[in-house]
């Protein structure tokens, strides 16, 4: 399928940006934003099955091995850092008296935030009937699971006595002690563990039909056994599908308020305290917008190389990426608004400490972190106003990395600047990370990478059944003039049967329609 890729990428780009033209450019390999179909160059269900399954069935490309070895090395280093921490104590981090939270909680909030885009794509876009989600939802959900695993690591290891981490949960114990439920930190335990469980269930349930596809295609005995076990006997029965669809809708409806609640609760960790710079009511919506912003950037950062490496450009089209970039732009604007509103309220409140905290953020000892944050999170996404940028693969990849960096710094700025210079100037201090801090942060990316690469290698990266269901060929009632869709494979070259077109029209790209 990658055979045409080299020949006509540049001219077709130009062609597409001139309003119409998705019909003519149907055969160009370079996918073009604003084109109506969500699946390119494929009209048979079997082609979609094959395209997705062969990733899990064939040997991965060399780049996969290279990336896997690098990530495995980083994961090993994470193991070193975590063990050193556990055997020595949290003193190996650069924490000091006012700055008792730094890289650990920064990384925690960062990774939880990354996860939110996956749930947004799988649940919220599902409720909004955004069919383009089908191309990206599976690996975005996988990203959620792995990001929450990375996130869960940090509060787990920063409690000090790691072997007592189960104290976070209300378990009967010989001291007859219970957790204190008025504390936002405990709400966090419930929110994040619920989020992880529900995301995992949602992901797995969504994957069962595709695991059955892999089972039915598997050649080796071991693959047949493993996929067979994972597919739990799914046979595609329509009576099953009926309950399955209701269950999926319910899970989406449950995950939607959940995802909003999780980052709200994470923000309560700060907002409920009385530290200037943390004690603000804007935090919950601001954190949620930031989470979706960073999560979508991560999806783009992962989708761009993944579709390149595994030949999934017909399923993760430029249109999908363009839509995601629009969401990055929207949420980036929200984040920018939140930054300015925080400043305004700090001044408007007349509270001395609050005012100081914000001026100190921008011009104090961590001014550089603040301005990295602003330039990455406020200025970078504004480039996505331009369609050229939104549909340029290299540019969107670079910008998404910028957003990831910016969002990491946002959490660092919020956490560290507020703590380092609090009420009493005599106790002010500066946080300087140690090698263990940095190693743990880098190692977490290794953990994420290893999990994600294994997922790409062994599981269906794209929701096969869902993609099939949004193909025009899936319509059981082809209209009169689209009736030739009856003959299965006879319509190659026709593009999309016109009768089924309306289902594929994205309201936001209607300017591209004839």
């Amino acid at each position: 399928m990658a055979s045409h890729s080299s020949m006509s990428s540049k001219p077709s780009m130009h062609h597409s940006s001139a309003t119409k033209g998705f019909v003519e450019t149907d055969n160009t390999e370079q996918p073009i934003g604003g084109r109506a179909p969500l699946v390119l160059n494929m009209h048979r269900f079997g082609e979609v099955t094959h395209q997705v399954c062969r990733v899990a069935e064939s040997k991965p490309p060399l780049a996969w091995y290279v990336a896997f070895v690098i990530c495995l090395g980083m994961l090993g280093f994470l193991g070193v850092c975590v063990n050193y921490l556990i055997f020595t104590g949290v003193g190996v981090w650069g924490l000091n008296n006012p700055v008792m939270w730094a890289y650990d909680i920064t990384n925690f909030v960062f990774w939880v935030g990354i996860g939110h885009a996956g749930t947004l794509i799988s649940a919220i876009l599902f409720l909004f009937r955004q069919k383009w989600r089908t191309g990206i939802n599976r690996f975005a959900e996988a990203m959620t699971i792995f990001a929450v695993i990375c996130a869960g690591l940090f509060p787990g290891i920063h409690v000090g006595r790691v072997w007592l981490a189960y104290w976070l949960f209300p378990l009967p114990n010989s001291m007859e002690m219970w957790p204190q439920f008025r504390s936002p930190l405990l709400w966090d335990v419930f929110a994040v563990s619920t989020y992880f469980t529900v995301s995992l269930v949602f992901w797995y349930i969504g994957m069962v039909p595709d695991l059955a596809t892999l089972r039915d295609r598997a050649k080796g005995k071991f693959q047949q056994f493993a996929y067979g076990l994972a597919a739990i006997g799914w046979r595609g029965s329509m009576r099953h599908w009926h309950r399955y669809e209701v269950a999926y809708l319910l899970l989406a409806a449950l995950a939607t308020p959940l995802v909003l609640s999780v980052h709200s609760v994470v923000s309560f960790d700060f907002a409920v305290s009385q530290v200037p710079g943390w004690h603000t009511t804007i935090f919950p919506p601001y954190f949620v917008a930031g989470a979706i912003f960073s999560g979508f950037a991560m999806v783009v950062s992962l989708a761009v190389p993944a579709r390149e490496l595994f030949g999934l450009k017909d399923l993760i089209t430029l249109r999908h990426l363009d839509n995601m970039n629009k969401i990055i732009l929207l949420t980036g604007c929200m984040v920018g608004y939140a930054y300015s509103m925080e400043f305004f309220i700090a001044w408007y409140s007349g509270a001395m400490y609050e005012k100081f905290a914000f001026v100190n953020r921008a011009f104090g000892q961590y001014w550089w972190a603040y301005w990295i944050m602003v330039s990455c999170n406020v200025i970078t996404p504004q480039l996505f106003w331009f369609k050229k940028v939104r549909t340029s693969i290299p540019l969107m990849f670079i910008l998404s990395i910028f957003v990831n960096v910016g969002m990491w710094f946002e959490r660092f700025v919020i956490i560290v600047t507020s703590l380092a210079n609090d009420f009493l100037p005599t106790s002010w201090d500066q946080f300087v990370p140690t090698w263990v801090d940095i190693g743990t942060m880098v190692g977490a990316f290794g953990l994420f990478g290893v999990l994600f690469l294994l997922f790409c290698r062994y599981l269906p990266m794209i929701a096969i059944a869902e993609v099939k269901a949004v193909m025009p060929e899936a319509d059981p009632h082809p209209h009169a003039h689209g009736a030739h869709a009856h003959h299965g494979g006879s319509q190659e070259g026709h593009g999309v049967p016109s009768g089924a077109m309306p289902a594929f029209r994205d309201p936001r790209s209607s300017e591209g329609q004839p």
């Binding site: 099955t49 009926h242 099939k468 060929e473």
Partner: protein, 204 residues
């Protein structure tokens, strides 16, 4: 177990040694299976099903599948979660009696900054999370339970041709236990629906 591994060769429609599981008809497009489903239903069969690689829109209605009561059950589970969340917090943070929950446990009235023992507003997040948790787990669990899953062995899964049910083919299966099932008649009926292939599914 046997169904997880590759079946040997599947015998085409003549293998009358044991009672078959049923008859299976293969179709190639969603439109074809839609029409077939309507006609199978109209013919009065009861133990039959369509097996499709993706949920064909409206096929469940055409088959006469009744709407599942799953949402009602999930509501119950969610309400249970809310009650559990409230009771858990009220007991562990505001009560001073003992209850038996696998072991004897005693509540602990937390008095902090003169706040009321029953700090219900502060309990909302945990109540909410437990509501969602129980609802989501029961949604998935009940859906599988009602679908008779997980199931590691099934006559259909032993059929080689049926493997394409998760790929690009659409199957109508009429079970032998259906009162209207008569092998020759049902086979002719399925062929009359325009099936590209009809075969017996052995019960193994």
């Amino acid at each position: 177990m046997s169904t997880l591994t590759a079946p040997k060769v599947d015998a085409p429609s003549m293998a009358p040694t044991s009672a078959p599981y049923g008859l299976m008809a293969e179709f190639r497009t969603p439109a074809e299976i839609m029409e077939a489903a309507q006609r199978v239903r109209a013919a009065g069969y009861r133990y039959w099903d369509c097996h499709v690689p993706f949920p064909v829109h409206g096929l469940d209605k055409a088959m006469g599948v009744q709407r599942t009561i799953l949402p009602v059950l999930v509501f119950g589970a969610g309400a249970t979660g809310a009650v559990v969340g409230f009771c858990l917090q009220a007991f562990t943070n505001a009560a001073s009696f003992s209850v038996w929950a696998l072991v004897w446990v005693t509540g602990y009235p937390f008095l902090i900054s003169g706040k009321p023992l029953m700090s219900v507003p502060a309990w909302i997040p945990v109540i909410f999370e437990l509501t969602i948790l129980l609802s989501a787990l029961s949604t998935a669990g009940l859906m599988l339970l009602m679908n008779n899953l997980p199931r590691l062995s099934h006559p259909l899964l032993a059929n080689n041709r049926f493997r394409r049910a998760t790929d690009d083919r659409f199957f109508v299966v009429i079970e032998a236990r259906d009162p209207k099932f008569l092998r020759s008649k049902t086979e002719a009926f399925l062929k009359s629906l325009g099936a590209s292939h009809v075969e017996v599914v052995e019960d193994r």
